[in-house]
């Protein structure tokens, strides 16, 4: 069965052919059927194609390859392959605790109302800075990492139920104590050590 992208390309092709015919043979527009065809080709189909294309691009922007396609993000992509079980991103990525194809998005989205829109706007800011400005050195998050993104998956999970988490749960939920605090889960994208150790390579 053809995927949504193939169907979109068929729709794009159909619209282009219809438009070419109607632009080349304007006399067709004099008939009632031609007017209906014109409404489809000049309005309905382009609107559908545009919105579908936008949706497709937004879905693609969640992909790991999309995030890592900018040069500045390369070491962060490499850190996902760090051979270090204490590294939070690497352990999540290598053990498929997060979808591998959407690894960056899964942890760096905003699990709140309109969160997806907010991260997409941040994404536009990234693009602006990448091509028209100067990127931060080293790059860092706009806001401190919110525990909500960790708790979205971990809260209620059996592996999360222990005395330490239970004792600190209120502070964790209120972001008074970060999950990535020193002494807790503090090995995050460790860029400095990326090139110093041998990376993990999945067995094909």
């Amino acid at each position: 069965m053809p995927g949504p992208l193939a169907i979109l390309f068929v729709l794009l092709g159909t619209t282009i052919v219809l438009l070419l015919v109607l632009v080349a043979r304007a006399s067709l527009l004099h008939t009632p059927a031609g007017k209906v065809l014109a409404s489809l080709a000049f309005f309905a189909l382009p609107v559908v194609c545009g919105l579908w294309g936008l949706s497709e691009h937004l879905e693609r922007s969640k992909q790991t390859v999309f995030c890592l396609s900018c040069h500045i993000m390369e070491p962060y992509g490499q850190s996902l392959f760090a051979d270090n079980p204490m590294s939070i991103p690497a352990a999540h990525f290598q053990n498929h605790r997060i979808p591998v194809d959407e690894a960056c998005y899964t942890c760096h989205t905003n699990y709140a109302l309109y969160g997806t829109i907010r991260v997409k706007l941040h994404g536009l800011r990234h693009i602006y800075v990448q091509y028209f400005g100067t990127a931060m050195q080293p790059i860092h998050l706009y806001d401190p990492y919110n525990n909500r993104e960790c708790l979205h998956c971990h809260e209620g999970a059996r592996s999360f139920e222990n005395d330490t988490h239970a004792a600190l749960l209120d502070q964790i939920k209120n972001n008074q104590l970060s999950c990535v605090s020193s002494g807790c889960h503090d090995v995050i994208h460790n860029i400095d050590s990326v090139n110093k150790s041998k990376p993990w390579r999945p067995v094909k």
């Binding site: 992208l5 979109l8 390309f9 794009l12 619209t15 282009i16 438009l19 070419l20 109607l22 632009v23 304007a26 006399s27 067709l28 527009l29 004099h30 008939t31 031609g34 007017k35 014109a38 080709a41 000049f42 309005f43 382009p46 609107v47 194609c49 545009g50 294309g53 936008l54 497709e56 691009h57 693609r60 922007s61 992909q63 390859v65 999309f66 396609s69 900018c70 994404g123 990234h126 693009i127 990448q130």
Partner: protein, 75 residues
């Protein structure tokens, strides 16, 4: 053909060309997973599609022309 109808035909052709350009840009941008592809689609493709649709709607609402004519097509 009156001058008004002639102008409307030109506007219809302009709308078609804008839409064709927008759709072509969309098709090209969808072959590529990169922030530039998103920008290309959103800025260039989106602008062409929006302009093409708006020109067509303008033609439909405010102008007489091929879409309003009751003439039968030339055989």
């Amino acid at each position: 053909m009156s001058a008004a109808t002639d102008r409307s035909s030109k506007l219809l052709r302009l709308s078609g060309i804008l839409l064709l350009t927008g759709l072509a840009i969309e098709a090209i941008s969808l072959r590529w997973i990169h922030p530039i592809a998103f920008l290309l689609f959103f800025v260039a493709g989106g602008a062409c599609l929006a302009a093409g649709v708006l020109v067509f709607l303008y033609l439909l609402v405010f102008r007489s022309g091929p879409l309003h004519s009751n003439d039968t097509p030339a055989s």
